[in-house]
């Protein structure tokens, strides 16, 4: 037991300024979240309500255990695109009858809940999370199908939705569809591929082809109810396992289905009776400098995230720019890797590779706290083999089999993003703080590199190089890269699972770890690539 100590001075002007800046960013993100919550806007929400229907979020709230937490995933999906923030679907992890489930609800107030390319991307990510963590899936269905003008981006990859459902079932992770409204054409396979199907009387409509299409195809006269009504499916086709009297009843039935799954988590149980951190999470707002060039001590973060602020640091004297050590979060043991001075040198890389292997030896998940500008460059470092060393770390993180959870606190640049388990390295979860930025390199550096290259090219061609143009080009590039490094932009691209309030880090990681433990938690049995020594 080694309790961390904190040297944060919450009365310092710097702290207050950092906090102010973080609160501003949080307010911006709240405003974006509010857009997702607003769904299709007042008019469509009103129309939906007038039909006596619950909003997608109300359905979820009613489905969840009372007073239990809910982690919404990718809430800013489609941010910065032509589509509504949130991508007309809500996905998240919540507790139903004591079971953590991956819940997905189409938002019928946004274009009738039709899928656009971002909807599919967001759903794919949710399906990945369900599959990797063995989370039962509950789909709350009411969707007009594909947004037809964008079918080229949806139709072919979209088939994955049905594949994922049946693979989930094959892996003995149950899938439940609660059908509140339309689920037609391709959408009909959503209940079709689910283990359990509940349909709401007089509301659910599930068929391959509606009356007009049937008329065109065979000349048969028909109606919605006989082709795909809930009563028909419950009594005649057998596609519906349960006929719900109304929406509340469908949710009640959904809950009773989960209750009867006799679900057992496969991962080890958390240590009970753990202590809360000794330091106030509120301080996290003032710890990250608004200027990412200024490093901060990640132990201050660890002290506010892990149980009892109890952190046993590994190799504290070696490679000090990366902090490694053992702790618990909500009773779950974790190994922590946290950037301390931004830059990763050879020592840090070797330390990380060793630490990751140790975590695999003892089946312990890893939490990676990003604030890195990347691996060190320069003659000395190249000659001492920084590429080999970086490769060691990337090899270790790539082939590590324990679950990884990445949190982008500040910078996450260059190959450092990879070594710290960036999105491409399949962390089970990746969250960003509002202060995070991620790109191949910092905007100024990138603009500067472009400037140097352009200047050299001009010199080669014997041309003059306009300093004015250069300044304008640099400013433009810098602005563009800056914008594209921002967390909202990256979140919109589904490059993270959500931007979180730093004060919620412990809660989010605890919930994620608990979700992860629905599946087995096992480290690699050997199986790393060749480590270049």
């Amino acid at each position: 037991m080694t309790a961390l100590r904190s040297t944060v001075d919450t009365r310092a002007g710097e702290f207050a300024a950092n906090r102010e800046s973080m609160l501003e960013k949080l307010a911006e993100i709240d405003a974006e979240h509010a857009k997702a919550v607003a769904g299709g806007g007042e008019k469509y929400v009103e129309r939906h309500r007038k039909r006596g229907k619950l909003l997608a979020r109300e359905r979820i709230e009613l489905l969840l255990d009372e007073d239990s937490p809910f982690l919404e995933l990718s809430p800013l999906a489609a941010w910065g695109s032509d589509y509504r923030v949130g991508a007309s679907v809500i996905t998240g992890i919540g507790v139903v009858e004591g079971v953590e489930c991956l819940i997905s609800a189409s938002d019928p107030t946004v274009k009738g809940g039709a899928s656009n390319p971002w909807t599919t991307k967001k759903s794919f990510r949710a399906a990945d999370i369900a599959a990797q963590n063995r989370l039962p899936v509950i789909n709350l269905v009411e969707s007009g199908g594909a947004d037809l003008p964008t079918q080229k981006e949806i139709f072919i990859p979209g088939g994955r939705v049905f594949r994922d459902l049946t693979r989930s079932s094959a892996a003995k992770v149950p899938t439940v569809a609660l059908v509140f409204g339309n689920s037609t054409a391709g959408g009909a396979y959503l209940p079709g591929m689910s283990d359990y199907v509940v349909m709401v009387k007089e509301r659910a409509k599930v068929f391959l082809g509606g009356p007009p299409l049937v008329k065109m195809a065979t000349g048969e006269e028909s109606d919605d109810e006989s082709l795909g009504g809930a009563e028909m499916h419950a009594r005649t086709s057998g596609l519906a396992d349960y006929l719900a009297a109304d929406e509340q009843d469908a949710i009640r039935l959904g809950r009773s289905i989960i209750k009867r799954l006799n679900w057992r988590k496969q991962g080890p149980l958390p240590e009970p009776g753990y202590a809360e951190p000794l330091f106030d999470a509120e301080d996290l707002l003032g710890i990250v400098p608004s200027d990412l060039k200024i490093p901060f001590d990640p132990r201050e973060v660890v002290a506010r995230v892990v149980d009892g602020s109890d952190f046993d640091e590994f190799k504290p004297l070696y490679g000090p720019s990366l902090v490694t050590g053992w702790a618990r979060i909500h009773g779950y043991p974790v190994g922590v890797l946290a950037n301390a001075q931004g830059v990763l040198f050879g020592e840090e890389s070797q330390k990380a590779a060793q630490f990751i292997q140790l975590a695999n030896q003892i089946d312990t998940p890893l939490v990676l706290l990003h604030n890195t500008t990347g691996y060190m460059v320069g003659k000395e470092y190249e000659q001492s083999g920084i590429i080999k060393h970086g490769a060691l770390m990337i090899n270790a993180v790539s082939n590590s089999k324990v679950p990884h959870l990445s949190v982008l606190m500040g910078a996450s640049y260059g190959a450092g993003h990879y070594g710290m388990c960036g999105r491409a390295y399949d962390p089970r979860f990746l969250f960003a703080w509002p202060s995070a930025k991620s790109a191949v390199m910092g905007p100024a550096q990138l603009a500067g590199v472009l400037s140097i290259v352009a200047r050299a090219a001009a010199a080669n061609r014997g041309q003059d190089y306009s300093e004015d143009n250069d300044a304008a080009m640099r400013a433009m590039v810098e602005a563009q890269i800056e914008a594209e490094s921002m967390p909202m932009f990256l979140s919109g691209m589904l490059y993270d699972d959500g931007i979180i309030d730093p004060r919620d880090t412990r809660t989010v990681l605890g919930l994620s770890l608990s979700a992860i433990h629905n599946g087995p938690v096992k480290g690699a049995e050997g199986g790393f690539g060749v480590f270049r020594m």
């Binding site: 979240h33 997702a36 919550v37 909003l55 979020r57 109300e58 709230e61 009613l62 255990d65 009372e66 007073d67 239990s68 937490p69 809910f70 982690l71 919404e72 809430p75 507790v95 004591g98 079971v99 953590e100 009297a245 509340q248 009843d249 949710i251 009640r252 809950r255 753990y274 909500h330 959500g498 979180i500 309030d501 004060r503 919620d504 809660t507 989010v508 605890g510 919930l511 608990s514």
Partner: protein, 659 residues
């Protein structure tokens, strides 16, 4: 006397056992099946089962009780009150079995058992009585008058007649009730004193000729002729009147060669003149108030007298003031000025009276004589009185304040009681001024007197407390993620929602527990200080208020100084299969269907009687809520029903369609 059997149940059995234990006398209980786990059964040295439940099968079976005494090796029998306590034949059978009968001689019981006869005797002895009226000769001038059963007591077989035309029906009704309750349909008529005061004198007589008038009690506050609040001394009685009362009581006692503890009841008019009503040849329910002002242990004295002991010449003088209330498991609703008292049953999850100084023992402070305890099941077979709470203090004001506070702060969960009514009475100006008479409830209005202690605002805050306690309970009981913040959201769209109701009032509590504290719609200025499953502390505009919350099934019990509130917790989901058909009439209380007025298919108008339910010897009419057709009638005469059982369904009548 070595081993005493109490032929009774509930608090009085426990009361007698306490005195027995103090005297080193062994205790024997008898118990019906429903009382197998009752406190009186558990705490006796030995207990003998009386198979069955109805009093007629159990506590009224004299021969079984005498056999029980023999089986258990008892050498004495104490009858308590009610049941066989005033049954001369039973007393005789106890004596005949060679057992000591802790009570008056059987002849005295028999004499006083007939009210007609006893009135005659008393008049002869010079005790003032109200003249008996011959129904045939009654005129307008005699009204109002009272029709009374000659046998028994407790208000059964009693009717007040205010119009001559109602007399015949009242006599008939009283006869029927008396016949079924006491096996003797004899009734008589006398003048009815509208604003009389019920004043009674406790007497004790030994076998050596000493007769004590121990003290008077006033028991004017009654419902349906059953006492609710009793006190000693009477605020109405001055020393001169007291001397007269005592004198009359002694005369009455001596006239029938009475031995043991008894009570001579009088009705006093506003002018201070009083008339003999009856003599109760047993220990009274309200004996503790006399004990508390005199320091006497009346049960111990009963035992001594039965053993032949001699009383000192004079009883001790009364000191201070004692007030007793009877806590009944019952509700009262007032409709069209008519009070409807309904007994309640159920599991008493919690029964805690704060600050109890003593139980079953005379003395200062707060005394509790209870037949129930937390976890007791209150059934439908016996009197709905759960307990008596008694306060003694140097003055009447202090005693009523102490008693009111104790009752208001009592945790009584699971069974509805008359607690609120009792507290309101004890705090009522007229009560505090000593203006108590038999018309107290009518004069001050039961609707007002029985109104809940918790105001609408208190109820609203209690609903919030109930919701937050429930939330804390949900978190504490969560199998997964139990220690994450309650209702945590990274993207918040709506708060948590819980719905409670009390009567017709619904409370929808929508709240979120955020980083910045409680946010609850409509509760601005309320902050959450702490929430645990059983206790919630709120800061209400700068005032900290603690609420204790207990959840049992679908009920939430919230107690605070603002007054107790019981909420029905609305289920989150309604099971459509469990929904009642529209127009369903459910049993408002447990009971037996005694008569049907209609058959299925009958066309009825709103207010038409459909059937009658009997509970606690009272018939309750179940009437059609609206015009329509009786579509279902799933009960028959004799059906035993629980609260909530569907008795009938009245559907809409379709014009022109035969049903």
């Amino acid at each position: 006397m070595r081993n005493l059997l109490v032929a009774n149940r509930g608090e009085i059995a426990r009361r007698v056992f306490r005195s027995c234990r103090d005297a080193g006398i062994g205790t024997v209980a008898v118990f019906s099946d429903a009382d197998a786990r009752a406190p009186h059964t558990a705490e006796a040295d030995v207990a003998v089962r009386l198979p069955g439940n109805a009093p007629g099968e159990t506590y009224l079976r004299g021969e079984l009780i005498v056999k029980a005494a023999a089986d258990a090796g008892a050498d004495a029998v104490h009858p308590g009150y009610g049941f066989l306590s005033e049954n001369a034949a039973f007393a005789q059978s106890v004596v005949d079995a060679g057992l000591t009968w802790v009570g008056p001689p059987p002849e005295a019981i028999a004499t006083m058992g007939s009210k007609v006869e006893s009135k005659r005797l008393m008049a002869e002895a010079g005790v003032p009585v109200l003249a008996e009226l011959d129904p045939a000769g009654v005129t307008e001038a005699d009204l109002p008058l009272l029709v009374k059963a000659s046998a028994g007591g407790g208000g059964r077989g009693m009717r007040v007649v205010r119009k001559l035309g109602e007399l015949a029906e009242a006599i008939e009704g009283a006869r029927a009730e008396a016949g079924s309750a006491f096996g003797d349909p004899t009734v008589f008529c006398e003048r009815y004193l509208e604003t009389g005061r019920h004043i009674e004198v406790q007497v004790l007589a030994d076998r050596h000729g000493t007769v004590w008038a121990v003290g008077e009690r006033e028991c004017s506050i009654q419902r349906r002729h059953q006492k609710v609040v009793e006190e000693a001394p009477s605020p109405f009685v001055d020393p001169a009147m007291r001397a007269e009362l005592f004198e009359a009581a002694r005369k009455a006692t001596q006239a029938i060669d009475y031995v043991g503890a008894g009570t001579v009841e009088f009705l006093a008019g506003p002018d201070g003149r009083f008339y003999f009503l009856e003599m109760n040849t047993r220990l009274q329910v309200e004996h503790p108030v006399t004990e508390n002002v005199t320091g006497l242990d009346l049960v111990a004295l009963q035992l001594s007298i039965a053993e032949g002991a001699k009383l000192p010449p004079e009883p001790p003088a009364a000191q201070g003031h004692a007030i007793e209330v009877r806590l009944y498991a019952e509700t009262v609703t007032v409709q069209d000025g008519v009070a409807d008292w309904q007994p309640q049953s159920g599991t008493l999850h919690t029964f805690e009276v704060p600050g109890v100084d003593r139980e079953f023992t005379p003395g200062a402070g707060l005394r509790l004589d209870s037949g129930v305890e937390s976890g007791s099941v209150v059934g439908v077979h016996y009197d709905p009185m759960l307990a008596k709470v008694i306060a003694w203090a140097p003055t009447r004001d202090e005693a009523s304040r102490r008693l009111a506070s104790a009752l208001a702060g009592a945790k009584i969960h699971g069974v509805v009681t008359n607690r609120d009514l009792l507290v309101n009475v004890l705090r009522h100006e007229a009560f505090l001024a000593g203006e108590t008479d038999t018309a107290f409830f009518d004069r001050h209005g039961l609707a007002t007197l029985a109104k809940p202690l918790a105001t609408a605002d208190a109820e609203r805050l209690s609903a919030l407390a109930a919701a937050l306690a429930d939330a804390a309970g949900n978190r504490a009981g969560a199998r997964t993620l139990g220690r994450l913040p309650s209702g945590w959201r990274n993207v918040r769209s709506a708060g948590q929602r819980k719905e409670f109701s009390r009567g017709d009032t619904r409370y929808e509590v929508v709240y979120a527990l955020t980083r910045d504290g409680l946010r609850a719609e409509g509760y601005e200025g309320v902050e959450l200080v702490s929430a645990e499953p059983g206790r919630v502390v709120l800061d209400v505009s700068g005032v900290r208020r603690a609420f204790t919350v207990a959840r049992h099934g679908s009920e939430s019990f919230v107690d605070s100084v603002l007054g107790p509130v019981t909420f029905a917790v609305a289920p989150r989901f309604a099971d459509p299969a469990a929904a009642l058909a529209a127009g369903s009439l459910v049993a408002p209380m447990p009971g037996t269907v005694v008569r049907l007025a209609v058959a299925a298919g009958a066309v009825v108008a709103a207010g038409d009687p459909l059937l009658w339910l009997e509970a606690m010897k009272m018939e309750h009419r179940i009437a059609a809520p609206a015009d329509g057709v009786v579509t279902e009638l799933p009960v028959e005469v004799g059906s035993q029903v629980e609260v909530g059982t569907i008795l009938a369904v009245v559907g809409e009548a379709v014009l022109g369609e035969s049903v």
